[in-house]
Amino acid sequence: MPAFTLNGAAVAPDLPEDASLLHALRGPLGLSGTRFGCGTEQCGSCMVLLEGAPAYACTLSLATVAGRSVTTVEGLGTPAAPHPLQAAFLAEQAGQCGYCLSGILVSAAALLAANPDPDEAAIRRALDPHLCRCGSHNRIIRAVRRAAAAMHGATA
């Protein structure tokens, strides 16, 4: 029963060590925000932050995350207290089916933590591991820029 920190709280899901973090999140931990898309690190739907850095939950074993800290989209913010990125995605209406958004949001959060003022090319690079089939790319890029501006206190 590997223990780790999930969105700030200690958890120990009842699963074998070699089970994936994604199964633990969507199963016993009851957080469905992290999505399954391929299981092979090729789409980014399952992206979470491991110690603040983007990581594919579909291939991360519970043994690997033991003792470490994981952030999922649910840990970014809530409707009552949204992360600036979540507010910006709503303001830009950045998404269609929305299935890709959870992973994109956490990658974008890691980007903005490392680079508070990324240009468009940096955003595209940071989001390149993520597939969006609905063609929401440009809105998503605008939303990340809007969030960056909001986090500076500047006007978006």
Partner: protein, 716 residues
């Protein structure tokens, strides 16, 4: 989104005509319900596919009822109570459902107001509605909420109901934010994939190693504890308490023994196979006219080819099913709950009433994907454990390898020009598998597993809906340009080694591209600019307007040739009866071709949600760029080999073009739909941009370095 062949046009049945789906679903209570607490439930039969339809329909309802938008809750479609609106497809949702809801709400409003007038003695003309309250000169005399339980909606919609005039609209026509987006941004459990029912088991299908392979025997050896195997003929699935166990068990069970044969054509010679199989196909005439006997001065002859294309939705298909006695309940992201119900019942050889289908959202749906197939898989797996819900999720490999595909196609075009270089005649021949094998329409089920059962159903070759229903392979095959002589023929293949069905745009993708490509060649022969040449062959002012607008946005007239870059322009009116879209593309020819910018002008008639239309237009354009530059289903003689994102790449963030869109406002005009309009012209504009950059016109999709090199060699 919403793609393919939508609701069949209701036959003339002698009843007064009601708009859209209201004609066949006439009771107001089927569409809406008022509650004493000040809320309204809206019950469309169309479903959310990621296209924002529920938001647009709520806007229409709030508008006609004169209530605040926030009072509306949308109930997802489910059999048997929702209005039967067939399939959410063909960019017809606002036409079918929006028109129905607009009329139903206008009718409901009139009924409630007249009751309030009667009861209060205030004349009808002196009453108005403000956020659901009925106000007379002396104040409130009633409301929807007070009268909620009076059964006033248990009646048919009156044909006399009069929706508001366009100039009175305040909510419809504005960019209300999507009602589903907050859940998606906060990671809420919004999708069928997230459904967790008490006692639910997890299931996976064990797929054969080849198409049409027959299961000989299940592997010897123990499965993990608590895992159950379900087999019916060549359908094999595993059931387990936890998802990780189901996955592990599926891996073990995949060591089953199968008898496999070569059933697929040779990929390298796919175009030749299409032509050969076309010789054995079913030929039909799409349209013919001969108005001029003038001899052509020159003739352009060209052939165009496209491969099979995959839906490639970001989420693999998923369904949950639960049997109770002889009845089964299914949660599905199908585009058509009633159609799915019909095919499930046929497969199970039971009455449709024994099956309940509830819609839940999936990831983006661009046509007839695996959603219906996985629903049958879940039903078959759940039959082994009556009373327990079973969630069955496809793998990425199943999603990319076993969903229906959009058919590979060949189009031959001959265009005759007169001495002035103007179009005189056009002959085209299309060879393709059918573009629809949607459930619910044929005597036999079309669901994937139905052909794998111990008592299997045959797989019939897909069909093409008739042109009045939008067509399939022949969609957009008739040029909208002025043409004295025209002959469009269609060959439908009667063999279907790879299962095909509707995907965004259907045949329009290759038809628009081939028409626009030949138009550019004709313009070049006539010494005319591609824009001017099109304009001089267009009689429809709305078509001319979008073309001129897109050209102006892109600075077409003043464009300057840049080394390694090219610009192309294209136009289509989707289905020749839907939305107008003109696209200018800028491409860069580097180690491969990239689409850098798109300028798009559109006319979709009345717009319910402008931001939603922009989102759909842009999504379709980026989807089109992906198909144009990258997409191609790969296979060997036995199986689909492009069953991972590595082997079926789609456009990424680093490659997505910048997109600028302008819509021409037409609040008085009928809805034309938006989801599919930009894809065909985007592909065509990129092809034209490649010609401008490299001097070669691509003849085969996708526009990869290999296919472009082949076009350069073939260049005259």
């Amino acid at each position: 989104m919403s793609h393919g062949f939508g609701a069949a046009l209701p036959a003339e049945d002698g009843r007064p005509r009601l708009p859209g789906s209201l004609h066949l679903n006439r009771r107001l209570s089927q569409w809406l319900e008022f509650h004493a607490d000040g809320r309204v439930t809206l019950k469309p039969g169309k479903v959310e596919l990621g296209q924002g339809i529920l938001t647009a329909l709520s806007q229409i309802a709030a508008e006609e009822l004169d209530i605040g938008f926030g009072r509306i809750r949308v109930q997802s479609a489910a059999t048997p109570d929702s209005p039967n609106e067939a399939v959410t497809s063909g960019s017809l949702s606002v036409q079918d459902s929006g028109s129905a809801i607009r009329h139903a709400c206008a009718a409901a409003r009139a009924i409630f107001l007249s009751v309030a007038a009667q009861r209060s003695g205030v004349p009808l003309e002196a009453l108005r509605v403000e956020d659901g309250a009925f106000l007379g000169p002396a104040g409130e005399v009633g409301s929807y909420w007070v009268l909620a339980d009076s059964g006033l909606l248990e009646t048919e919609a009156s044909p006399e109901a009069r929706p508001k005039p366009p100039e009175a609209r305040r909510i419809a026509g504005t960019s209300v934010p999507r009602i589903d987006l907050p859940d998606k941004v906060f990671g809420a459990a919004r999708y069928v994939h997230d459904l967790r029912l008490p006692g639910m088991l997890h299931a996976r299908v064990v797929r054969p190693p080849a198409r049409r392979a027959v299961l000989q025997s299940v592997a010897e050896g123990p499965l993990p504890e608590g895992v159950q195997l379900v087999r019916d003929g060549s359908f094999l699935a595993v059931l387990a308490e936890a998802e990780w166990q189901a996955e592990a068990a599926a891996r073990i069970a995949s060591r089953a023994l199968w008898a496999a044969e070569d059933t697929l054509p040779e990929e390298a010679t796919l175009a030749a196979w299409l032509r050969e199989a076309g010789g054995r196909g079913e030929h039909s005439l799409v349209l013919e006219r001969a108005d001029s006997a003038a001899p052509p001065a020159q003739t352009i002859r060209r052939s165009f080819h496209r491969p099979y294309i995959a839906h490639a939705s970001i989420a693999p298909s998923c369904a949950v099913a639960r049997w109770e006695g002889e009845a089964v309940e299914v949660w599905s992201h199908s585009q058509g709950p009633y159609n799915l119900r019909a095919d499930l019942a046929k497969t199970l050889r039971c009455a449709p009433e024994q099956v309940v289908v509830r819609h839940g959202e999936g990831a983006g749906c661009y046509g007839h994907n695996g959603a219906d197939d996985v629903a049958l898989d879940a039903v078959l797996a759940a039959r082994a454990v009556p009373g327990r819900p079973v969630r069955l999720l496809w793998s990425r490999a199943e999603e990319l390898g076993w969903s229906p595909f959009s058919s590979a196609m060949l189009v031959d075009v001959e265009a005759d020009l007169d001495a002035a270089g103007n179009l005189l005649g056009w002959r085209s021949d299309i060879i393709s598998n059918g573009h629809s094998s949607r459930p619910g329409r044929a005597p036999e089920p079309t669901l994937l597993a139905a052909s794998m059962l111990a008592e299997p159903f045959p797989v019939k070759p897909s069909i093409n809906p008739p042109l009045v229903g939008g067509g399939g392979a022949q969609r957009n095959a008739i040029p909208v340009y002025r043409l004295p002589n025209l002959h469009v023929g269609l060959t439908r293949l009667l063999e279907m080694p790879i299962r095909t069905s509707a995907l965004r745009g259907l045949g329009a993708l290759i038809n628009v591209w081939s028409i626009e490509s030949v138009m550019d060649e004709a313009a070049a022969l006539a010494g005319a600019d591609p824009l001017d040449y099109r304009l001089r062959h267009l009689d429809d002012p709305r078509a001319a307007e979008v073309l001129k607008r897109a050209a102006a946005m892109a600075g077409w007239a003043g464009r300057v040739k840049r080394e390694g870059f090219g610009m192309g322009l294209a136009f289509a009116r989707y289905k020749n009866s839907g939305a107008y879209a003109a696209v200018v593309a800028e491409v860069e020819a580097a180690e491969r071709v990239f689409c850098r910018r798109l300028w798009i002008a559109g006319d979709v008639g009345e717009v319910v949600n402008p931001d939603g239309v922009l989102n759909q237009f842009e999504g379709g354009a980026i989807h089109g760029a992906s198909v144009a530059l990258l997409e191609q289903v790969r296979f060997d003689r036995q199986r689909i080999t492009s069953d991972a994102w590595e082997t079926y790449p789609i456009l990424r963030f680093s490659e997505a073009p910048a997109v600028q869109i302008e819509l021409i406002a037409r609040p008085e005009a009928p809805f034309l739909g938006a989801g599919e309009a930009t894809m065909g012209p985007t592909i065509a504009a990129i092809a034209a941009g490649i010609q401008d950059a490299l001097g070669a016109r691509p003849r085969a999709l996708p526009f990869t370095p290999e296919n472009i090199a082949a076009a350069m060699e073939a260049a005259p």
